[in-house]
Every structure is written in structure tokens, then in C-alpha cells.
């Protein structure tokens, strides 16, 4: 049999990774690298006890909320800057500054200024993600096809029709790029936010396991994490891509 089917290829390569892990764990025999089976046991136990579900859904809630705000606000500001040269020149330096503030600084400042609250946590994530979305959407808007916009104006499309049928289809790749890089970024920031100032969520749990040196639990939570991200990619993002590319 030849290894051609892509699903077969990727599951074989996953198996190889698991085998390597198992082999290494068997040779080293240390508590800091538990074998895969033990990790799976803990993962299952955490799911059964409801612990994992509780903390994962807390993190997911924050993710969904801050991601939506950052995307909506970022798209609106990015498109406005892309359309208006004066505005763009004026706020360019602001954007540069916000892009370069380290995530940790924003998080600390938010907690100091607004207290260890949910609002402060969400705000910290949004402020970290926002400049990224703005820049991506601004560049996308600058690259809009002027000829098609003129056509829409000439045939009196109006604002809504122009947005829906002329502008958004052209911005789609940029929105998807902002979504993908945004999810990857927010996942990482949200854990730090939870570690520093929340009493639930994946970040809080990981911090707890770190203090206990419980590597098996850390790995179990990491696996749960990876599964959720993959599910988002395959169940939401990929179908969106496919829908948008139907004319190509």
C-alpha cells in the first residue's frame, strides 16, 4: 500500500510523534516527562471531574468576547484609516507605539489601573490584539480596486450594497489573516492575563500546576487546548475560506 492519502499521512506522522514521546519517557523515567498514556488518563479524569470543562469554558468565553471586540473595532478603524489618508497619517504614530508595547506591559497596566477585574482582563487582550487587526485591514483597504468602486458608484450601489458586494469580498483574505494571527496571539496573551489576575481559566490552572511541578497535568491541558484550536480551524475557518473561494 502506498502512503498517498493525506489523512493517512498525517495520522501516521502523529503516531510517530507519540511513539517518540513514549520512547523518550521510557528511557528517561522522570516525573518531568510523563508517558503519553498517563497524560491521557489525567486528561480523561479532568474531563470527568468537570475541572477541565470549567476552566476551558472560562478561557473560551474570554477569548470569544475579546476576539469579537478586537475584530469589530479593528475592522472599523482599519477600513476608515485605509479610506482616509489624512486620518491615516495622523494616527500612524499611535499605531506604531501600540504595536510595540509588550503584551505584558499592557496587562500589568490594565490590572493596576482598573483592578483585578474581568473588564480589565478583556481590555488587556483587546488592546494587545487591536493594532494588529487595524494594520492588516488598513493595508487591505488601501489595496481595494478603485475601478470596481467607481463602477459601484456609477451604478448607484449605495453604501450597504457596496460594502457587501464590492468591499468585503476583497477584504476577506485580510480579515481571515487577521482572524488566524489574532486567534494565535490571543490564546497566548489570554493565558498570561489569567495567570496574573484571574481565579479561573486555563492560565490560572497552568500556573497552579507549575507551582506543584505537575507536568502531566500541564501536558493534559495543553492537549485539550490543541484539540480546541484544531476544531476551530476545521469547523469554522476552513469552511469560511471554502465559501469565499467558490468563484476562484
Amino acid at each position: 500500500m502506498r502512503l498517498q492519502h493525506p489523512a493517512l499521512q498525517s495520522s501516521l506522522s502523529l503516531c510517530l510523534l507519540l511513539l517518540l514521546w513514549q520512547g523518550l519517557a521510557a528511557v528517561l523515567k522522570t516525573a518531568t516527562l510523563p508517558p503519553p498514556l498517563l497524560v491521557m488518563d489525567i486528561l480523561w479524569a479532568e474531563i470527568q471531574s468537570g475541572q477541565l470543562t470549567h476552566h476551558l469554558s472560562a478561557t473560551m468565553g474570554r477569548l470569544a468576547f475579546s476576539f469579537s471586540i478586537a475584530m469589530l473595532l479593528g475592522c472599523a478603524i482599519g477600513i476608515s484609516l485605509g479610506l482616509n489618508k489624512t486620518l491615516d497619517r495622523f494616527f500612524d504614530s499611535w499605531l506604531l507605539i501600540f504595536l510595540n508595547i509588550p503584551a505584558l506591559v499592557t496587562i500589568i497596566l490594565c490590572y493596576v489601573w482598573f483592578g483585578l477585574t474581568e473588564t480589565a482582563a478583556i481590555l488587556a487582550v483587546v488592546v494587545n490584539k487591536l493594532p494588529n487587526v487595524i494594520v492588516t485591514l488598513r493595508e487591505g483597504t488601501k489595496a481595494l480596486d478603485k475601478e470596481l468602486l467607481a463602477m459601484a458608484k456609477c451604478y448607484r450601489f449605495g453604501l450597504l450594497k457596496t460594502l457587501q458586494h464590492v468591499i468585503l469580498p476583497q477584504l476577506h483574505p485580510f480579515i481571515m489573516a487577521a482572524t488566524r494571527s489574532g486567534l494565535a496571539l490571543i490564546w497566548k496573551i489570554i493565558l498570561v492575563v489569567e495567570m496574573l489576575g484571574r481565579s479561573d481559566g486555563m492560565g490560572y490552572q497552568l500556573h497552579l500546576f507549575f507551582q506543584l511541578f505537575d507536568v502531566a497535568s500541564i501536558l493534559a491541558y495543553t492537549i485539550a487546548f490543541i484539540i480546541v484550536i484544531q476544531a476551530i480551524e476545521f469547523l469554522i475557518l476552513k469552511p469560511l475560506d471554502k465559501h469565499a473561494a467558490r468563484w476562484r
Binding site: 470596481l148 467607481a150 463602477m151 456609477c154 451604478y155 450601489f157 458586494h165 468563484w247 476562484r248
Partner: protein, 242 residues
Amino acid sequence: MDDISIQIEDKSYLNSADNSSKQIIKNLNLSLKANEFVCLVGHSGCGKTSLLNILSGLDLDFTGKINLGSTEPKMGYIFQSPRLLPWRTVAENISLASSCTDESLNFLLDSMGLSHEKEHYPTQLSLGMSRRVAIARAFATDPDLLLMDEPFVSLDSPTARRVRQLLVDLWLKRPHKVLFVTHDLREAITLADRLIFLESKPMTVLKEIAVTLPRGERDNELKIEQFKQQLFIDYPEIHTLL
């Protein structure tokens, strides 16, 4: 519909490289009577597209007066390139630009020979087909004024001839004002009621000539050629333009 009168005193472009300004149009006076088919003939790049952009309201940066009549006319604009939305089907491209009924959409697609391409995306079409879709889109708006900017360049000549014939047929069926830009005098004679020759740099009207050749005789290549030669004899000044 009322007549249209166009007076453009000045249209200039600012060259941002050296801050100099270049005048494209100077003291241009044109008028269009009801249901008239007028061809603008001049060198490529003499400012005809600028003129159409001013007329269509896309370009507001000029000095002069455009009188489109008491009620704002419905406008169709066929650009030099088809300018279709690649992510919408042929049918969607047409119905987005107009509020035409399914029936008239099907009729238009039929007469353009596009009935099988109705649900296709523009990326699946040849250039000739895309141009026909653009023409169908303009006609679907049921225009009072149709602007056409060299819509048949880069089409092979049999296709160009067919689409030209379609254009005339549709226009005869439902007459309206047409302003057709071209640098091809034979094409202009085939289509127009009146020819307006334009001088370039800056653009201004050189000569207006009515096409007296009856429409019934215009599918005869020889008659077109004869008419063209006669024009050169009667109006030697247009020689410099062609």
C-alpha cells in the same frame, strides 16, 4: 428626455512629482439631443475617458457646467475594461447594478448569447464574454444616457462586429442617448448619428459631422470605406487626428 449640454472650461491634473499641472480639457462644448447616438473620435489618451468620468459624476474636480436635463437621467457606463465583480455570478453582476426583472435579465442574456453562462463566475469567461456581460449590465439599467468608453478594443474583429450589431439592435429597440468613445473611424461611422472629432492636448472640439449614410447600408464594408474617404476629402483637417 431633455437635451444634454456639456461645457467644460478646464480640467487639469496635478502632477505630484514636480507639482506642475497639466490641462486635459479646455473650453469643450458638446450637446446631445434626445435618442441621439454620438461618437467621440480622437487619439487614444486625448482625455475622452476624463470627459466620461466627469459626465458620469465620478470626477467632480473641474470647472464648467454639465446640464443633464430637468430630471437626473438613469446612466449606464460601459468602461474600457469590463469591471465585473469576480466573486459574483453573471446574473448577480447584472441584477446588482439594476433593478431589472428576471424576465428582462433572461432576455438580455439571451440576446447577448450568454444564457448558458448565467450562473458562471466572470473568471470562467473569455474577455469577449465579459465585455458582453458589461454591456448587458449597462442595458439592464434601462438607461437614458449610455456612456461607452472604447468597449470593443482588444476583441477579435468577428466578435467586435457581432457585439456592435447587438448594441445597435438594442438601441433601436429602445432608443436613448449614447455617447460612444472610439479612435476607430470606421466603427464610429457604423454606429453614430453624429461624429465629434476631438483635438488633443488640451482636448477641444475640432469638427462635428453628421453621418448621412443610411443605417440600412452600414453593414456594407465598402459603403463605410467610401463614406470615410469622402470625409477626408470634405474635411481635410480631420486627417491629423487619424
